[in-house]
């Protein structure tokens, strides 16, 4: 008996040592995968680049550049519009944490799997997110960012913006090379994940070229670094027809976060439908009068002419059928904003029904509206700018016409309406205006404002244009109820130039962030914004 027990325990001891390794091999989470194929990761990299990074990069900026206006003068919704930005502005984490690890993983998986197309897609999206970040913050972390291979870097260092721009351009060049590869193991849409281009690599390549054009064009203040020829070359390789814009439709019939955030979960779910109810306080209440002006008057002359796109983007007031917008920062109580000719609007219009809604109003804020990354129309307008700046007036005009008309076609404007609009533009002196750089730029930038509706790229254009009224017309003024702790109430030319780094970065990586005071960050121009 005794011997049997000893033998039994010896045997069980041996059994234990041999099977121990296997017994302990349970640290792999059975429910949550840690590694899946690139084909299954593409969709997440695209959706988060849109509904996390770009969305959070434009949620507040759309108020800052006066697309949307809020109703109440209390609460937090007004903060963006009145430039009350603090370290609690969260584009930073939405890009760096929620979005970009997916782009990096995509690059690594594509390399491992012998599928350079996924490498290209990862690099294109990563470059675009770096671009989104640097255009709001200036210096950002690029080199020390998550690489998907080693332990996270606890104290990432930042690159100055000029270096960041070199990294972006290099990433896009590498993406273009990857898209040109002749061998590729798995197609981009192998698992149905290419919701933008359905596996058409040539369109991805044009997307990368389009981003190259956009970022090269940002250097318009940088003298010799601004190279119109390279921009025009990039434009010629970028989108060249309708229907290839980098975008995807949001969904209906799914969960709420399948819907466009401007329609619901972005601050537009309300407990009441009465716009005059105190609880009716969406993130943005109505479109601004400034945007109404862009869509109802011509540049340079401020001639009143209703752009047919206004009815595709906005809804008229329920009270009298007029298109009307609020004054940035003034709330519903402030009444109609400044008109296209610089004259005050109708201050008595303080009823909620005097304004069409912002949310669910048209092309950009419906349930399934896309949030475009970059479009054919934008590319043509970039080309127009580059050509105008290199004195190719005829070329600039041709690109401008295509850029404007492409956007109109996209919004469903009929050929007849387009022609009527274009004839009126010409009659208003368009061709002559293009002979003058500022006037030509006024046309281009105002059309970009329309075509880039709700895209933070507009803030880049406004800074490159120094928020000039010669470009944007006399109705572009700073918001009322301005954040005067930071901004000088008496200096109408002092505008917002950058964003405050996020509090989490400030407290955990203080040496890299440096001076993060609102006064310093909001007022200090970024590298490309200085001459």
């Amino acid at each position: 008996m005794k011997n049997k027990i000893i033998i039994a325990s010896l045997i069980s001891g041996m059994f234990l040592t041999t099977s121990c390794k296997k017994y302990l091999d349970v640290n792999k989470d059975p429910n949550n995968p840690t590694k899946i194929s690139a084909a299954s990761r593409l969709i997440g990299a695209i959706t988060t680049s849109n509904g996390a990074a770009l969305w959070r990069g434009t949620r507040e900026v759309s108020g800052l550049v006066q697309y949307g206006t809020t109703k109440l003068l209390t609460g937090t919704n007004r903060n963006a519009e009145q430039w009350r930005f603090t370290a609690s502005y969260f584009l930073w984490q939405n890009a760096y944490v929620y979005t970009m690890p997916n782009c990096v993983d995509l690059i690594n998986l594509g390399e491992e799997e012998g599928s350079p197309y996924f490498v290209g897609a990862g690099k294109t999206l990563l470059a675009m997110n770096f671009g989104l970040l640097t255009d709001q913050y200036g210096a950002i972390v690029v080199d020390d960012y998550y690489d998907g291979k080693t332990q996270l870097n606890l104290l990432p260092k930042m690159q100055q913006q000029q270096e960041v721009y070199q990294r972006i351009d290099k990433l896009l060049d590498e993406a273009i090379v990857a898209f040109s590869s002749t061998t590729n193991a798995t197609g981009l849409n192998a698992n149905g994940g290419d919701i933008m281009f359905q596996g058409d690599v040539s369109k991805w390549k044009r997307f990368a070229w389009a981003l190259k054009a956009r970022y090269l064009n940002h250097l318009s203040k940088k003298g010799a670094l601004y190279n119109p020829a390279k921009i025009i070359e990039a434009c010629s390789n970028a989108f060249n027809a309708d229907g290839m814009d980098a975008q995807f439709a949001y969904l209906s019939g799914g969960i709420q976060t399948d819907e466009n955030p401007w329609y619901s979960w972005g601050g537009f779910v309300l407990t009441t439908t009465d716009p005059n109810n105190a609880l009716y306080d969406p993130r943005y209440f109505a479109w601004s009068q400034f945007f109404v002006n862009m869509l109802s008057s011509f540049p340079v002359t401020n001639t009143v002419f209703q752009d047919p796109r206004i009815s595709r983007i906005m809804q008229p007031a329920a009270s009298d059928g007029q298109y009307r917008g609020l004054k940035a920062g003034a709330g519903l109580a402030g009444g109609q904003g400044i008109l296209a000719n610089g004259q005050p609007g109708d201050a008595t219009k303080t009823n909620g029904n005097d304004y069409g809604r912002f949310s669910n109003s048209g092309f950009y804020t419906k349930q399934t509206s896309p949030i475009p990354f970059i479009t054919y129309s934008e590319i043509k307008l970039i080309e127009a700018e580059a050509k105008l700046r290199s004195n190719d007036v005829a070329g600039a005009l041709a690109a401008y016409e295509e850029g404007v008309k492409a956007n109109m076609r996209k919004l469903g404007v009929s050929a007849t309406e387009i022609n009527t609009y274009w004839t009126a533009q010409l009659a208003d002196g368009l061709t002559a205006h293009f002979a003058n750089l500022t006037q030509g730029l006024s046309h281009i930038m105002r059309q970009k404002y329309i075509t880039l509706c709700l895209n933070p790229e507009t803030w880049v254009d406004m800074r490159r244009s120094d928020f000039s009224q010669a470009i944007y017309g006399p109705s572009l003024v700073r918001p009322v109820n301005l954040n005067t702790v930071v901004f000088d109430a008496n200096n109408a030319n002092q505008w917002i130039r950058g964003m405050v780094y996020e509090t989490n970065e400030q407290t955990r990586n203080p040496a890299a962030v440096g001076d993060n005071s609102e006064k310093y960050r909001l007022l200090t121009p970024l590298w490309w914004d200085t001459n």
């Binding site: 121990c20 995968p33 959706t47 104290l155 019939g253 970065e505």
Partner: protein
Amino acid sequence: MTNYLNPNGSQRIFPGGNDNPYWTIQNKPITSGINRFIGIANVNYNPFSFLNLTYRLGTDLYTENFKAVRMPGTLEADALKGAIGQNTNTNQITTSTFIATAKKTFSDDYNFSLAIGNNIENTRVQTLTANAINFIDPTFPSINNTIATDRSVSETLNRRRIVGVFGDFNFDWKNIIYVNLRARNDWTSTIPVGDNAFFYPAISTSVVLTDLLKELKLKSDDQIFSYGKIRAAYSNVGKDAPPHVTTTSLAAVTNTFTINPRGFITNANNAFGNPQLVPEFTRAFEVGADLRFIKNRFGIDFTYYRSKSDNQILATRVPPSAGAFLTYLNGGAIQNKGIEVVLNARAIIKKDFRWTIDINFAHNKSIVKELPGALDRVELSDAWVAANAAQGAAFLNGSLFGINGNVWKRNAQGQLLLSNTGYPQVQTALANIGDRNPDFTSGISNTFNYKNFSLSFMVDIRVGGDVFNATENSLVRSGLSTKTLDRGSKVFDGIIESTGLPSAISVPLNQNYYQTIYANQGYDFVENGSWYRLRYATLTYNMPNSFLAKTKLKGLAFTVTGRNLVLITKYSGVDPEVSGSGAGVGGSGSFGFDNLGIPATRGVDMGLRLTF
């Protein structure tokens, strides 16, 4: 507020946009329940007189069911048409222990024992979660009362397995000198292979002084120095990581303010995995003495200890530009030092009257010596209180139990930086505004026996240690706090930030100020949490034996106990002994946060004790 319904049965809505608490009680029920099963099997066998073999197999299996309902009509934006969340949590911990113990005594004076054993622990926690929104019939709260696209389910499974072998060697000489040596090697499933085996030893010794003196013939009786023992111990204890944290998991869902990813993305809500984790170790040293005098009438037990944990496995907050919010890292060192003293005395021992008194005293100091990266604090964001005015946090070179809170914005000279309207502003970065760790705690119990009566009571003392009065903060926000009594006006002593000039603006101290400005800072709600309390007092009457002899009872006692009868404290809230979010909060928990919690109740119990 009690009138919370409209005539049509819908919720009456008040400005502010929150659900009425009375409506909430009726329409947002939360239910939970636990079923538990514990099984233990034991085998004990002595093959030889000196050898004992023991095998024990035990399992603890319990299932928790939780359900939270929000009925249609709530003002919560994600549940306007009703929402239900339910989960089933199945926990099982199975332990298998085999111990072989050999004992031998040589020449009557030298006692040896050696135990060697194996221990296997298997923990499995499975959670099934189901959520749904938009009830089809608005009156029937059930997950079945929703359409398929409004439902979501998820599963988590956590598994941890540890296999250990250990040895425990004891030696004593005449029960006077004891030596204990222990060693253990663990293999864990939660650390990457290569580093997942770790060894840790311990040694302790004690000497019974009184017996030693007697043995050496230096002492003959126990009249004065009745008993004395000194002890010392050193140990090093290893610890593994939580399960499944060596790799970063993917998830197909995010949150309610980010796009539905439509596929797998990096799970940013969880801490990033780290394939380079190694076990953490805590080294501890302790010395103590137990001394008793005059036939054990007076005794003192004294302990000093210090420990240091190194390479702590922390879910560390990292800069977002690293690519995550949290990642598991080895880093951080915590030092713990303290003393404990227990005094007891049988002060009076007469035939009819006896008085015994016990006093214990404890002092502990926990200091964070190192943190990873540039971190100067480890925040516990699950312990936020007072609308994010303060949270628990451990500070580098400071307390493990600090308070991280909002403070007014000041310049380098310490002057308030005021807004253009002349009000103070909250600084973006939070500051260390308090230490919840007390200087010392003490308990004094007295028992008086007079004939058949016995009276005992305990006085509990806590000196030092801050409490964050989030309840007061909440009262300020609703205008019910005495801190909001001053409704005059004031020129804040500071400079206007935008101009740099001293403020001359007289600002009204109105509702807007108290609600939206004053209540957002934290330091004015930190209070000294010292207390003296009569924890309990019990009066007992024991029926005399003469009476019991007539019955079949062996004992009969009547008791009256009062609990928390007296509390002396300068703390302005109800009771400084509260915990903000219960024991479930991770890290240094939420003690010292008075967050609308319910303090220990005051009460009187009466009892009857029968012994057969």
